[in-house]
């Protein structure tokens, strides 16, 4: 099972960071600057108002980055596939909501996410004690059971979880440490950015600690780790508990930002989302889940407005990634590293362009098929009219279906041919680089 997780090369990475400290810090600074500037790019300066939708979406990306990174502490770092990660996220959220509703609120608002994290840690220590007895698929099944247990409990118990309506709260109940007024969405956004940075730095630091290294070791060969004198179960347990801490921080931010926590925050789809984000982004590197979180949240917010079958696209993307690129987007980018360094990226430009043409045809065909099918059963009943990319085909006539299907099928055949050609060029390039590399 470890084969699914590409192993990082710690020595090489360490050397790189030691020699070029600026290069190691640069991505962090760049991400922070982008995060700080983003809401101002979408501000409507004529009215002097922020774009509330975009600010909320960027805020959600922040929470999801924390969530996906904490998930990757299990999946990428420790090789543990968990299906109950949202439980700790949601529990942190519920706890923060209750802290906000208790009068008087003892914790200042800025520190509430940490309180959520501590609650998440407590719960993940309890459940982790059970789940980390096992590894691999058995672990996955136990976490699945725990996840279902939590969701059913959340719907059932009114007192703590508020049943189906959830717990509502008001973030203004809490005092601010710095006297900031959090009525405005922008202030909340910057709070999320700050906590995302803190949590990400914390998780990045943990990666390099002996605990993080041992988690890697237990993932790759737990028997050998045991032989060296470590207890793999204890390593799994601590890693699991700590990932619950960071998930709880994310949940606390969720509670503060939306001022409502329902059972959706502990529900299985959110746990599945953590998996999608981490895997599509790439579990092999620290930045992967960040990419995944941003991409999936953008798809969720953007695509779900345009198409009500967006889950099909996410599911297909996931399946394609699992079969073709198990290293995720970050893994694909990283594979290009040596080529970029050798200055040979230009060689790939033409093959990439040649793949892009059938790729676009396949994508267009697929989108048309899915949307026409979706419209014929769901959309038409809602009284909408069908149009896509400026076309408005009649979905009840056979012709658009034949064209879309033929385009899709032909595109796939063409894409496979171009793919073979691409990998021939790629392999040539790689062997050439390997031969040219100094020994």
């Amino acid at each position: 099972m470890t084969a699914a997780v590409p192993r990082p090369r710690p020595t090489a990475m360490r050397a790189a960071t030691r020699n070029r400290p600026i290069r190691a810090v640069a991505p962090w600074i760049a991400m922070l600057l982008i995060a700080l500037v983003l809401p101002w790019l979408f501000r409507d300066y004529t009215t002097g108002r922020d774009n509330g939708f975009m600010t909320a979406m960027f805020g959600q990306m922040g929470m999801m980055i924390v969530f996906a990174l904490s998930y990757n502490m299990l999946m990428g770092e420790a090789g543990l596939l968990s299906f109950c990660h949202a439980v700790f996220f949601g529990f942190g959220g519920y706890c923060v909501a209750h802290l906000l509703n208790a009068v008087p609120v003892v914790v200042p608002l800025e520190l509430l996410p940490l309180a959520g994290g501590v609650c998440g840690l407590g719960l993940s220590a309890v459940f982790g004690g059970m789940a980390t007895k096992q590894r691999t698929t058995a672990f996955a099944m136990i976490t699945f059971g725990i996840g279902e247990l939590a969701v059913t409990a959340a719907i059932m118990f009114q007192h703590f979880f508020g049943g189906e309506s959830g717990i509502t709260t008001d973030r203004q109940n809490a005092a601010s440490l710095f006297g900031v007024n959090y009525a405005h969405g922008l202030a909340v956004y910057y709070l999320i950015v700050a906590w995302t940075l803190i949590a990400a730095l914390g998780m990045f630091y943990l990666r390099g600690t002996p605990l993080g290294r041992m988690a890697n070791a237990c993932r790759d060969n737990y028997e050998r780790a045991q032989f060296v004198g470590y207890d793999p179960r204890m390593v799994r347990f601590i890693q699991f508990a700590l990932s619950g801490l960071f998930a709880g921080i994310g949940g606390g931010l969720y509670s503060i930002a939306y001022e409502i926590v329902t059972y959706d925050a502990v529900n299985a789809p959110l746990s599945g989302n953590a998996l999608l984000m981490a895997f599509i982004g790439g579990v092999g590197s620290f930045g992967g889940p960040v990419i995944g979180a941003i991409l999936i949240t953008a798809l969720q917010s953007g695509l779900s407005l345009m198409s009500n079958s967006w889950l099909v696209y996410v599911g297909l993307l996931f399946i394609v990634m699992v079969t073709v690129a198990p290293t995720g987007i970050a893994g694909i980018l990283r594979a290009h590293g040596p080529i970029v360094r050798a200055g040979r990226l230009g060689t790939l430009a033409i093959p990439y362009l040649r793949m892009a043409v059938p790729g676009l045809i396949v994508l267009t065909g697929l989108v048309f098929l899915v949307e026409m099918l979706s419209f014929a059963t769901i959309g038409a009943a809602e009284g909408k009219t069908f149009s896509l990319f400026g076309f408005a085909p009649n979905v009840y006539a056979p012709m658009p279906w034949i064209v879309a299907l033929a385009g899709f099928a032909a595109g796939i055949v063409w894409l496979r041919l171009e793919g073979q050609r691409f990998f021939a060029v790629w392999d040539d390039l790689m062997t050439g680089l390997a031969a040219a590399a100094p020994r």
Binding site: A3, Q134, A138, M141, I142, F144, M156, H159, L311, V314
Partner: protein, 315 residues
Amino acid sequence: MQLLTDTLLSGLVYGMLLFMLASGLTLIFSMMGVLNFAHASIYMLGAYFAFTISHYIGFWAALVLAPLACGLIGAAIEVWGLRRCHANGHIAELLFTFGLVFIFQRAVMMVWGTLAVPYQVPASLNFPLFQLYGQNFPAYRAFMLLVTALMLLSIWLLLKKTRIGLIIQAALTHPDMVSALGHDVPRVFTIVFAGGCLLAGLAGVIGGNYFSTDSGMADAMGPIVFVVVVFGGLGSLAGCFVASIFMGMVQTAAVMVNGSIASLFAPFGIALGGDSLLGEILTIPLARVSPLLPYVLMVLILFFRPRGLMGARDA
């Protein structure tokens, strides 16, 4: 008495249906190491296929054709999907089936709509078979019991009395050895996967009209089937059977019980309760907790006996 027999019988029907799903899942899992997340989705597909086929041809055709279609889909998934992921390990295969869940879920909505479809019990079976303590016993329930019992018998015969069954049994525990003896293990995998999906489809055909056929049925059934597989023990069909019947009984019986933990202490003059989370846990009637029970049982059994009731090895 009437309540008891009614509970037992509906628990038995539900349990047998669970077993149809769980037996395929446990065979696939113990043989290929693949936890098929899409198993309940196949069950859902079976019900929807049966709805469409019985609309155009008839229920009896659906009873044969829909499971076959599900079996074919299963074979396609195995050959074109799982086999490619196999090189990347079991987790990649699991993730592949996990992705399929999203697609099937949405595809069903796109083809048949978001609302439940009116998939009805066929008219030829829609009559009370006999009366039991003044309560009608529907013929369809008896039919479900018959189908599941036949399925149980045929699985048993197939596994114990035929050559392919022998190879499947051997491949369950020693796939490398079976392969070394010259058997085509990947083909056996395909057969088992398709067979499991066929059973899931059959469960959908006979369960879809007994319960309801909607796009949420996979989500409702999937977790319970997992619980059954883990509870019964991996690789053990007998354990799977016992666990299915047990879970079916527990779930139907718990709905009838109105007591709570607090009511246990009431005869001793100890009043428990109060307006807190603990008070709520103590006073909530068992009938309302019944959806929670399977998961509590699963976590408990994994904690105390990780290999399940009759499992040959640790989960």
